[in-house]
Amino acid sequence: MASHVIGPVEEFSEDTHRVVKIRNIEIGVFNIHGTFYALPNVCPHQFGPLCEGRVNGTMACDAGTGWNYVWVRDGEILTCPWHGWEFDIPTGRALARSKVRIRTYPVAIENGQVIVTL
């Protein structure tokens, strides 16, 4: 476990994400509504560059919505650019496969700097 300063908080504006390199490891850093998350930039499926994918929400539709489509979780779902696997950014869980969960790295803000712990 080691903490790495990856840059001033101003460089990670709200509701954006980007990939940073820590040693030789690519990490996606996400600012979701002001809360920071970090995930490995590799998809467990075919090893695609997961965190280069887009972040948005997903669709829900069940008895609770009257079987109408409803857009939910906006800004919290990461989609791999290769095959479209969706991941819940806060937990790292794959939406389609509950047993698949990628690592999540702790992120802290100290003295205006974003710090990721690997």
């Binding site: 590799v42 075919q46 090893f47 560059p49 280069e52 989609t79 650019p81 095959h83 479209g84």
Partner: protein, 373 residues
């Protein structure tokens, strides 16, 4: 991986610029195409992630599949691919236009673009001769026109169809193909488009997930038709390639087909052997989208149920959303057939010489090789 492996990719989707098409389309088709009428189009099913992989761009943001040098640099080089067969984006749909002359003109222009802009650029490129099958005589003419160029290694038709491809209506296409020693390949994605039948036997599905999952059913129908109608008796050297259908569906169909034939043999007296034997000799499948059961040994068991070493060839489908990387496909295969599937069966079918400038064993097995940074 202990053994160095070559990779021949049997399904890569290059694209072409609409404006470039105008350079090869004669009138009156040129004016028609320039007006925006470029064939029967799609049914409008929606893939929320896009059919084209979003990350298939160069560092400058250009689409990799749109430029022959980019595709060579950022795909063939990255994976050490020895040869790649180009099946251009949007090319087979044109064959389902209700207007056979216009369909023939469009596919000819696409073939001309392949010959002028792609094949000369890199010795690793091979390509399919796109034909519009619903006028078989025009399709045969197109095969004869392009076959002299050794860069073209097969004939390509849509698997969306008006009728099953074993019917003798299509014989002129097969006659032209075997005369030129070319296999005939099908590619899915046009099911339900233009003058093809409904995309499934049950009718029109509602969404893309459903439509895409059901695509393989048209392969089942064409395969059974080709064998039953005796296409491989009439054309003993004819080979058929079913691109992008995966493989796991095949064994149960073979069993069902052989069982029925034993009782109904007299209705097809030209079939002297069980249908599965003709299929093993004349039909090849490509791996992608390779099935991904939760327990990988289930797929391996299925791959023991038909002659994989002669029937299955690697395909990536790059840069589509459901593509397979060579290393992913290689891991799914038993070691005993990897070399056959990844390169050697395709090398024999398409008569591809071993390339002196190609380092065998370039198969990338790391995630980093999949990216260009």
């Amino acid at each position: 991986m202990a053994t160095p492996l070559s990779v021949i990719d049997t399904d890569i989707h290059s694209s072409y610029d609409r404006r470039r098409m105008l350079d090869f389309l004669p009138e009156p088709w040129r004016t028609r195409y320039a007006s925006g009428n470029d064939g029967p189009g799609h049914l409008g099913y929606w893939n929320p992630n896009g059919v084209m992989r979003a990350d298939a761009v160069t560092p400058d943001g250009e689409r990799i599949e749109g430029n022959p040098r980019h595709l060579a640099r950022y795909f063939l080089d990255e994976y050490g691919i020895e040869y790649g067969v180009l099946n251009p984006e949007r090319s087979v749909h044109a064959g389902l236009s209700p207007d056979p002359d216009y369909a023939a003109a469009i596919v000819s222009a696409i073939n001309d673009i392949l010959a002028a802009d792609w094949l000369p650029v890199d010795p690793r490129y091979r390509a399919s001769i796109i034909v519009a099958p619903n006028d078989p005589d025009l399709a045969a003419q197109e095969i004869h026109r392009m076959a002299a160029n050794p860069g073209f290694v097969q004939v390509l038709m849509p698997s969306g169809a008006r009728m099953p491809y074993g019917q003798r209506y299509f014989n002129p296409i097969y006659a032209a193909a075997v005369e030129n020693d070319l296999p005939v390949a099908l590619h899915p994605g046009s099911e339900g488009v233009g003058i093809s039948g409904a995309p499934t036997a049950a009718g029109y599905p509602t969404n893309y997930l459903e439509w895409h999952t059901d695509l393989v059913t048209s392969y089942m129908a064409h395969m059974v038709s080709l064998v039953t109608e005796g296409a491989f008796i009439k054309f003993p050297t004819l080979k058929f390639v079913l691109i992008e259908g995966g493989a796991a569906w095949l064994p149960p169909l073979l069993w069902r087909f052989d069982k029925n034939w034993k009782a109904l043999r007299q209705t097809t007296p030209w079939l002297e052997r069980p249908p599965s034997e003709y299929i093993a000799e004349h039909i090849l499948l490509t791996t992608q989208p390779i099935e991904e059961p939760d327990r990988p040994e289930h797929l391996r068991a299925i791959l023991e149920m038909f002659p994989v070493e002669r029937m299955l060839m690697f395909s990536s489908d790059y840069p589509h959303w459901d593509g397979d990387t060579p290393d992913f496909a290689a891991r799914a295969l038993p070691a005993s057939v990897r070399s056959r599937v990844l390169s050697e069966t395709a090398r024999e079918l398409y008569r591809l010489p071993a390339r002196a400038d190609h380092a065998a064993g370039a198969l990338a097995t790391t995630a980093a090789a999949a990216r260009h940074d």
